[in-house]
Symmetry: none
Subunit: 219 residues, 4 copies
């Protein structure tokens, strides 16, 4: 997740680039530390030290600690949620709904269960009191958007008789959580020390899809 935009040194002017590089270094360092130790558990000193810049430079780029934290979480959430969203968008009816959904489920679950994304989710949940809007952003760009898009795709599938339901949004939500809930809830609570294997994850995804099709599948 700590991904600096790596400004192209050949195109950018050297002065503007140096500043941008520092900014990226700060973001990288802060992301790493906030994910590891939380908001209060991370100090501006540590961030500056890990970014190898002076503290003043940090404050020149970010007004204060809250701003820095917000920006990081917002950016990271956007970046992390993008592939999941795109994957759902690209859902096509190949004629084999079962296979299509299983593939989607496996890919989505694998992405959601990336250690850094799990850690981000823990962070946002833990700071829901201090930064309520960050949780809402996470929710909106994550589950909400995914499920809404999935509902559209399901509606198309239902029109072709591949699925049957009354409320597409509800069906999409059930699909989503049938696939993800078991490993995600365990991961949230049991921490980064007991990661599930990807074979486990695939089994959970398959089982979720099977239950979903038993409930919402055709005939």
């Amino acid at each position: 997740m700590p991904v600096s935009p790596t400004p192209d040194p050949s195109t950018g002017g050297p002065e503007e680039t140096r500043s941008a590089r520092k900014r990226a270094a700060i973001l990288d360092a802060a992301t790493t530390l906030f994910l590891r130790h939380g908001y209060l558990g991370t100090s501006m000193d540590e961030i500056a030290a890990l970014a190898a810049v002076s503290k003043q430079t940090v404050y020149k780029h970010f007004a204060d600690k809250e701003t820095l934290f917000s920006e990081i979480v917002t950016n990271t959430v956007s970046e992390a949620s993008e592939p999941n969203y795109a994957d759902v968008l690209g859902l096509e009816d190949s004629g084999d709904v079962d296979a299509d959904l299983r593939g989607l489920a496996r890919r989505q679950l694998a992405r959601v269960m990336q250690p850094q994304l799990l850690q981000l989710r823990r962070l946002v949940i833990g700071e829901a009191g201090r930064f309520p809007e960050l949780g809402r952003i996470f929710y909106a760009q994550g589950p909400e958007r995914t499920i809404a898009t999935l509902a559209d795709a399901f509606t198309r599938l239902a029109e072709r008789g591949a699925l049957r339901f009354e409320d597409p949004h509800l069906a999409a939500a059930h699909f989503n959580w049938l696939v993800m809930s078991i490993p995600l809830n365990e991961a949230m609570l049991c921490g980064p020390d007991d990661p599930a294997t990807s074979a486990d994850l695939n089994r959970y995804a398959d089982a979720g899809v099977r239950a979903f099709l038993a409930a919402y599948g055709p005939g």
Copy 2:
């Protein structure tokens, strides 16, 4: 959740009770503050002040902040998970599985969605890095135990033909999360400011049970 044993001043001996009363006051205050502001966001001074007790007294009852926090979370988790567990234990086959499961689902969801329990779950998730064993305790006494017990009950129902599945534990987990995932995940992220109404909760419970029975019900 901050429930002091409420020593009856008329029956309890006056000497043993004074110390116990102080201890309870400290636990109450600390629970309130930890739930509100998190582990690092709560100071021992604040706890002592809210408990109307000197800081020394706090340290005489609890070796340090970590001990106090652990004890609180452990106690609270135990107390909070008990009714849910008991409810699943008491699940009987009245002949109307649909109604039985809907009742169970509604009661369980209502309990899990209590604001203080949600806040405790956020706290434990947010501190999973600092206190890994607390998350494991929460998981073991909460979802894990409930689902295991539910699996036993489902096995009995399956023997009477009321349910059909291959893996009772998987079916129980799917039941649990079909009922809870939608509101619980939203609540985790969207914080204590947008609480779901209990009518909403009942609807989610009913919808979850309907999907569950469509997948795992008889015939």
Copy 3:
């Protein structure tokens, strides 16, 4: 050094004895802790805990921490210096000065180098700034008194031609430090972790006596 007077429970009245026993327990505990961790490094809480009495009891017996410390050091110094003094007092001319002095030197050195006495000396030296009179007491009851008494004994020996010197007090001091300085100074600085063996000590004592007799002996 922590030696409680062990009051005889059969003779003493039970009430007076209980108080005396507590007092002795406090002195024992405080002596142990002061010797181990120094004056500032020892807390009244620890003393009360180790003595198994309440803090109030400590304050009932000793006005404050300084008083307790002074009393302990004074008592311990007196007790510890007594045998050394008595040994010098009993110095007789057996006709073999060499053997007499070597025996005295060995016994004295062995006593001075007892670990607890070394620790007491370190303590008194380290607190010379805070408790100047304790150092003076230690000096007066220790080296000063021993040397003065030794000077008397040497005077008698000189009258019989067994020793020769101008200033008996100077000769006594030289005797004392020729015997003790090497191991004592090393012990002071190198701490309680590298104790000298008693064979070493005897060698130092013998070597000191030999040098002393070479300088102050007859013919």
Copy 4:
């Protein structure tokens, strides 16, 4: 002993020097206070205040109190022991051993009995429990090194017939302590309030040399 490198403001570069100046001020202040009140008796607040520096600056230069203390004692011991060592190294046989040794003894004793060095010795002895390696450093750089060097010098003197002994190291140790023990031990215990006059010290030095030569001198 609190001797800052006294950066010459006219020659030193202004930027490198500021930090170094602060560091020196901290060392000076800490040395003064540690010598005066001991390790536990000195607070970091006092040190910062006396150095006219913020507490942060102290902690940026020295990781913690123990580090600061160790560094100070180590530095001071090294500086203080140097002249004594050099003086012994320069011992030459002028033909008049008596005068040579008396001169050396007087100079050494005068240096060892400097109030600040006495205080340092008390400090190190008093903290032998908490900082055992500091005592060992003091011993190694002080008495041990001096005596070893003296033993070499005595060996040369013995070859010319100016001294006679079996064990040069033992002779050197006896010389050292015959000269120093009386005033040093008194000073250790009787504190900084009763300083010996330098006339006294010279008399002790002379008497020690006289006894030494009576034992180890020629003929």
